[in-house]
């Protein structure tokens, strides 16, 4: 824009000189030439303020999963990124999800990162616009809504590993610098293969991938510069959060076998199991007989007062109506217009847990449910989301269950070899090991071996979860959370498989 303005000034200065010395046609041609130059310079100026929006890991979007979103702008003013996702279908019609985020601008390069849930969609359109113009825009169709998880390879020769994956697998080659350090960004990633031939990914990014649920495969002897990754794998294979890290020989067959033996937890099913039974219940209205008795008594009283009270009776009837209205309001109004409850499943291994949170809100008046974090409704509903929170319009006396964006936290319930350990400050109740049964309560700091117990889960909720977890997993209840310690992987210290 500055270049463009400068040229306009230059033209205005030359104008009088042209009028003094030029004749008609040459002057017109000169003006036309200047206009062409100005247009080209204007285009160049627009191209200077570069803007790029990337959905998914390395631009590979996974529908029905949390995806990393990156906006890179250069020499651009502050702008707003707007996404419009239509997740409806032919039967239900359009269901629009809107995402909106402020992207800071300024001189130089600005990078904005976030993780956004992208449902299976009919179309997805996005625009990045500043106050005066659109910096970038684009759209994706239903054919781009690929729900297959990614098989990510970080290698200088990714083609060498293609044979290790199924023909139908979504094999993508990603640069190490494109791997974010956030667990939610790996929601749509099944595996991450690092063979040490390319630039080293950050240890945090690899740990986030594993904790987010990916099977991280470290191939062969990694160079010394990547020793940090080796430590993640421990003695060869190591649980980390919802995933694992394993070291493998540089052989496609070994990779194929490792991938075939990897059975990640169905995180979507685990989240659904958390809200299989409602977390909040609509309040019960006052008993019908009581309400009708009071109504009948009031009606009778007011008629009698008006009939026999004369003029004072009119005043008394008005006062009675006011008092009964206020009393009825106090008696029948539910105490809270919005009821909420939340539950978090902490899916852990190796000291890190992936927090899969759900929040259920039931609103008595029609209202927009606001959650201050990134979340997605578990049913198909139109909603707005962004870094500032999630907003879902809900009809009166209806509830909505929201799955919060996955995050990481230190594990409280851990396997220490073959012993269960409570590393938290509060007792863990109803500890249950799939295949071994009830383990009672584990006090803070306590550690004890798994012992055979009664094979009945303490609650229906735990029972639903045990059906989705591998044998040897430990579950325990704490206030607001259910902790899960996945069993040590085969080959890991304490591993049983």
């Amino acid at each position: 824009m500055l270049v463009y303005s400068g040229q306009v000034d230059a033209l205005s200065q030359r104008g009088p000189r042209g009028r003094r010395g030029g004749s008609g046609l040459p002057r017109l041609l000169g003006c036309a030439a200047w206009l062409v130059v100005l247009a080209l310079l204007g285009q160049a100026a627009l191209a200077e303020s570069d803007a790029r929006v990337t959905f998914g890991l390395g631009g590979n979007l996974v529908a029905g999963a949390w995806n990393p979103l990156q906006v890179t702008v250069r020499d651009a003013p502050p702008s707003t990124l707007s996404l419009r996702i239509d997740e409806g279908d032919l039967v239900m019609g359009p269901r629009i999800v809107r995402y909106r985020a402020a992207v800071p601008g300024g001189r130089g390069v600005t990078v904005f990162d976030d993780d956004v849930y992208i449902p299976p969609f009919q179309n997805l359109t996005w625009t990045l616009d500043s106050a005066d113009r659109v910096l970038a825009s684009g759209s994706l169709g239903a054919r781009d809504a690929d729900g297959r998880p990614l098989q990510v390879v970080v290698s200088a020769d990714p083609g060498a590993w293609r044979a290790a994956f199924d023909a139908n697998a979504r094999f993508v080659d990603v640069a190490a610098s494109q791997l974010p350090g956030r667990a939610a960004a790996y929601d749509g990633v099944a595996s991450l293969l690092v063979d040490g031939t390319a630039a080293a990914p950050r240890s945090e990014a690899v740990a986030a991938a594993a904790a987010g649920g990916a099977d991280v495969l470290l191939i062969g002897q990694l160079p010394a510069s990547q020793a940090g990754l080796d430590r993640l794998a421990g003695s060869g294979v190591s649980r980390l959060g919802a995933g694992q890290v394993q070291r493998l020989p540089a052989h496609a067959g070994a990779v194929k076998a490792a991938l075939a033996s990897w059975h990640p937890q169905d995180r979507a099913a685990l989240v659904s199991a958390l809200v299989a039974a409602p977390l909040v219940h609509a309040p019960r209205s006052a008993p019908q007989p009581l309400v009708l008795s009071l109504a009948a008594a009031y009606a009778l009283l007011v008629v009698l007062t008006l009939r026999f009270g004369g003029t004072p009776g009119v005043v008394a009837a008005v006062a009675l109506a006011l008092v009964v209205s206020l009393a009825g309001w106090r008696l029948l109004r539910p105490p809270q217009p919005v009821l909420s409850a939340s539950r978090t499943l902490m899916l852990g291994g190796g000291g890190l847990s992936l927090a899969l949170g759900v929040e259920e809100r039931l609103t008595l008046p029609a209202a927009t449910v606001n959650v201050g974090v990134a979340a997605r409704p578990l049913s198909v509903l139109p909603y707005r989301t962004g870094p500032d929170g999630t907003h879902v319009p809900v009809a009166r006396w209806h509830g909505v269950a929201l799955a919060l964006r996955p995050s990481l936290s230190p594990s409280v319930l851990r396997f220490d070899g073959e012993r269960l350990h409570n590393a938290g400050p509060a007792p863990l109740r109803h500890v249950y090991v799939v295949g071994a049964g009830d383990q009672g309560t584990l006090e803070p700091g306590a550690s004890r071996p798994v012992r055979p117990g009664e094979e009945v889960a303490a609650s229906p909720e735990l029972d639903r979860l045990t059906a989705l977890l591998p044998t040897g997993s430990a579950l325990a209840e704490a206030p607001g959370a259910i902790w899960v310690a996945l069993p040590p992987a085969a080959g890991q210290d304490g591993g049983t498989r």
Binding site: S285, Q288, V291, A295, T311, G313, A317, S325, W329
Partner: protein
């Protein structure tokens, strides 16, 4: 004399008291069938509020038409008594509103009947006078509900939100409120303005103008 005296006298009259008792009984019946007996959403207000408004406006229209030719004091007393109907039925509205959490604001639900009753009473007076002039006063019992249906039909036919009390009962309608205020004001002027000659009760012939 207190202005409440004629109102108290009017509402004590058998016809009014019976209509009031019937009105409250209908509301009680609606409450009985719409109040939930167990857990779940409470939809009582959505049955009760439109019924209450419909009965209030129909009653006001009917009394207005019937007393078009009555003396001014009598009409004022009747209008006051009809406003007592609004007050007497308010606890039903408040209680069901409290439990139902409707989208319509409470102030709307509480105030709009106080506008509608005088407005429909005024329309009733106009209808009664027109019927008398046209010598069809005998058919007032039929004309009143027909007039009500015609008003609702006008709203539905032309997509308006002006006259229909049922629609106005459950959501805020400023055009409705404006028209009701205007009609109530017209009624106030007509009823309160001293007149040189009070109208005599309508004769069977209906010449009341």
């Amino acid at each position: 004399m207190s202005p409440l005296v004629p109102v108290a006298h009017r509402i004590r009259s058998p016809d009014m008291l019976q209509v009031l008792a019937l009105f409250l009984m209908v509301l009680f019946f609606i409450l009985a069938i719409r109040w939930p007996s167990g857990a779940g959403s409470n939809e009582a207000w959505f049955g009760l509020a439109p019924t209450r408004i419909a009965l209030l406006t129909l009653t006001a229209l009917g009394y207005g038409a019937a007393e078009a030719a009555a003396p001014r004091a009598r009409r004022l007393a009747t209008a006051g008594a009809l406003l007592l109907f609004v007050v007497a039925s308010a606890p039903f509205d408040a209680a069901s509103y409290a439990a139902s959490y409707p989208a319509a604001p409470l102030w709307w639900s509480a105030t709009v009947p106080f506008l509608e009753v005088p407005a429909y009473f005024t329309m009733g007076v106009g209808l009664g006078r027109l019927a008398a002039r046209l010598r069809v006063h005998t058919f007032l019992a039929l004309l009143v509900p027909l007039f009500m249906v015609a008003l609702v039909w006008l709203d539905v036919r032309f997509g308006l939100d002006v006259f229909d009390p049922l629609t106005a009962a459950v959501h805020v309608s400023w055009p409705h409120a404006a028209v009701m205020v205007a009609l109530a004001a017209v009624g106030g002027v007509v009823h309160l303005r001293p007149r040189g000659r009070e109208l005599e009760p309508a004769s069977p012939g209906g010449d009341a103008a």
